[in-house]
């Protein structure tokens, strides 16, 4: 009959009207500035630089290899390589970025920099409240503003961060094992040399080999306690 569809519709809207006062499931609104829902684990906004330990400058994983700068499709990464070197997480002396800027007004959040980074140094952030009244300086982030601790990375992307840490620990263990083996070989050689006193040329090489485990223990001190898990 004419009009019964209208009555059915009115009943439906009335059910929604009163239901929204009764059941909480109906009212899905999140009142944003006061209430928030946690961001999804695979959410991504703009990249940030990971550092280990507490000091962002000392623990920065980036070695200024500039692969991300070259791969970045919109060319929003600007890197200046340092002139000196400092040891990285395995203890190998590496360059570090004297300047690392990302212009997030240009960045398109493609994550290519993250995918190409061989040092697990650049990752995607979930922070999205980046509004600023300075659209040039305020949106060009330098390396200090980009630095986030490994703990922060664990907090926003737990699964991914655990994988990364496992991989890094494995690599480090491999390097350490190699260094240890080299040291043992050197020690054995030194012992052999001791039994044959007339061998002055060997002593120099054993001194060089001893620097590797020393450097490894230095990075161990800067790494956080739970970093390897």
């Amino acid at each position: 009959m004419l009009g019964d569809g209208i009555l059915k519709g009115m009943a439906e809207t009335a059910r929604n009207f009163f239901g929204s006062y009764v059941s909480k499931e109906r009212l899905t609104t999140v009142e944003y500035p006061e209430q928030r829902i946690p961001t999804a684990e695979n959410a991504r906004v703009f990249p940030f630089l990971v550092y280990d330990g507490t000091d962002w400058e000392a623990g920065m994983r980036c070695v200024a290899c500039q692969i991300c700068e070259k791969e970045c499709p919109p060319k929003c990464i600007y890197i200046d390589k340092s002139t000196d070197k400092k040891p990285d997480y395995v203890g190998k002396p590496q360059f570090y970025p004297a300047r690392f800027d990302i212009d997030i007004s240009v960045c398109m959040s493609c994550q290519i920099c993250v995918e190409v980074c061989p040092f697990e140094a650049i990752k995607m952030d979930t922070q999205f409240e980046l509004a600023t009244d300075d659209r040039f300086g305020g949106l060009l982030y330098d390396r200090k503003e980009l630095s986030r601790s490994n703990e922060y990375y664990h907090a926003i992307h737990p699964t991914e961060a655990a994988e990364v840490d496992a991989r890094l620990a494995e690599e480090k263990a491999k390097v350490e094992a190699k260094a240890k083996a080299a040291a043992e070989a050197a020690a054995a050689k030194a012992a052999a040399a001791a039994t044959q006193p007339a061998a002055p040329a060997k002593a120099d090489s054993s001194g060089l080999a001893a620097t590797a485990p020393e450097a490894a223990s230095l990075t161990d001190a800067t790494k956080p306690a739970g970093g390897g898990s």
Partner: protein, 406 residues
């Protein structure tokens, strides 16, 4: 029940309740007392006008926030809740916004007509309130032909709509205005004819007299016209036509934003737009008030034992209920198509109201008794079903088939 009726009568005799019922009339008389005798009648009228001009825009402000919250709830949202407690100061924020906005007049617009259109709308809509009885003894002008005056003023709003659309020199405004005028004229006919059946029974065009004609109770049940077959049919048609007259959803084609931006008020901004908005809501209030007066007994209590509640509370309560239904419909129904709108007006509502006039005459001349109830109900129900089947059957539009060319 007898004791309750007795109690009600006692209450009516009580001066406190009479005073509460007549509080606005007494207030006006008291204020008029301060004026010199020569200008007292004029002062009384001005006070009444001021009251109307204050009360209904206030009601409009309340309605906008309730509408937005209600629509939100219908869609399982919260609605506005930022300005003030529960968002109830939202209309104040909106008012400040519309007052401080730049008033843009298109370069090629006819500036005078463009300026006058919102004024004409609001003024004519306010005029309608002059003849509405809002409580016992609470009518600004007790005109013998109040209903006629009301409809004359209602028809003048169409003029303002067309003024707005034409003077803007904008194709969206023009198309919106043409749609609005076509729609309003079509439904004006139905609106008038559905009100005529009430006039046939009440025997008067005066709205207070129409209320007085419904002021009877059988037991404690009222003799409102909605409780008769012709009254119910008349009210249904009246409600449909009133919705179309006030350009409310589902008849809001004149401002269908998907195709016409905003219809006839596309080129209005700031306070002029606010006036259009106000005019639309005031038209809704006045049409609701008229519907209440014609079919729901105006300011009368729904049960005789509730007579002690002041009459103006009943009037405004009923109007607000109507407004609620308006909002409810807006939250439910999608917009009609232009051809559906016109088909519905001319092929369903018009024949149905004409038949309703005949049925009202039958009711009037069949005299008291149960026979008229049966006869009138059967005729109207049958007509509703038949018209609904025949006139409103679904039309299938497909690709055109040529009989000879192919």
């Amino acid at each position: 029940m007898i004791t309750m009726l007795g109690a009600a009568n006692l209450l009516l005799a009580n001066p406190l309740f009479t005073n509460l019922d007549q509080i606005f009339v007494l207030l006006r008389n008291w204020l008029v007392g301060f004026f010199p005798v020569a200008i007292r009648p004029a002062a009384g009228v001005v006070l009444g006008v001021v009251a109307i001009v204050c009360v209904f825009p206030g009601l409009f402000a309340l309605t906008t926030v309730f509408e937005r919250k209600g629509l939100g709830r219908i869609q399982n949202r919260l609605g506005p809740n930022r300005v003030g407690p529960f968002g109830f100061f939202q209309p104040i924020a909106d008012g400040i916004k519309s007052l401080t906005k730049e008033d843009v007049v298109p370069f090629r617009a006819n500036a005078v007509v463009h300026f006058l259109a919102p004024l004409v709308l609001v003024v004519t809509v306010f005029m309608g309130f002059a003849v509405l009885p809002m409580g016992r003894n609470m009518v600004l002008v007790d005109m013998d032909s109040g209903l006629l005056f009301f409809f004359a003023m209602g028809a003048a709003t169409e003029l303002s709509v067309f003024m707005a659309g034409w003077s803007s020199r904008n194709k969206y405004s023009m198309l919106g205005a043409m749609r609005a005028v076509a729609q309003m004229i079509s439904y004006e006919v139905v609106l008038l004819l559905s009100a005529v059946s009430v006039v046939m029974i009440a025997g008067s065009l005066s709205l207070p007299a129409i209320v007085a004609a419904q002021n009877q109770y059988t037991g404690s049940f009222p003799h409102w016209y909605i409780f008769t077959p012709w009254g119910l049919a008349g009210f249904v048609v009246f409600a449909i036509a009133a919705t179309a007259e006030s350009n409310r959803s589902p008849f809001d084609l004149p401002e269908g934003e998907s195709e016409l931006v905003a219809g006839y008020h596309t080129e209005y901004s700031g306070f002029k737009f606010a006036l259009f908005f106000l005019g639309e809501y005031l038209a809704m209030f006045s049409l609701s008030g008229l519907g209440v007066t014609l079919f729901f007994g105006g300011w009368l209590a729904p049960f005789s034992f509730l007579n002690f509640v002041p009459s103006w509370i009943w009037f405004f309560g009923k109007v607000m209920f109507f407004i609620f239904v308006f909002i409810w419909m807006r939250g439910t129904l999608p917009r009609l198509r232009q051809d559906q709108l016109m088909n519905f007006a001319w092929k369903f509502t018009l024949p149905f109201t004409l038949l309703n006039l005949l049925v009202t005459a039958l009711w009037r001349f069949m005299g008291e008794g149960w026979q008229r109830w049966v006869v009138c109900t059967i005729i109207l129900a049958a007509a509703y079903v038949i018209f609904g089947r025949i006139e409103m059957r679904r039309q299938h539009f497909g690709p055109r088939k040529y009989r000879y060319a192919e």
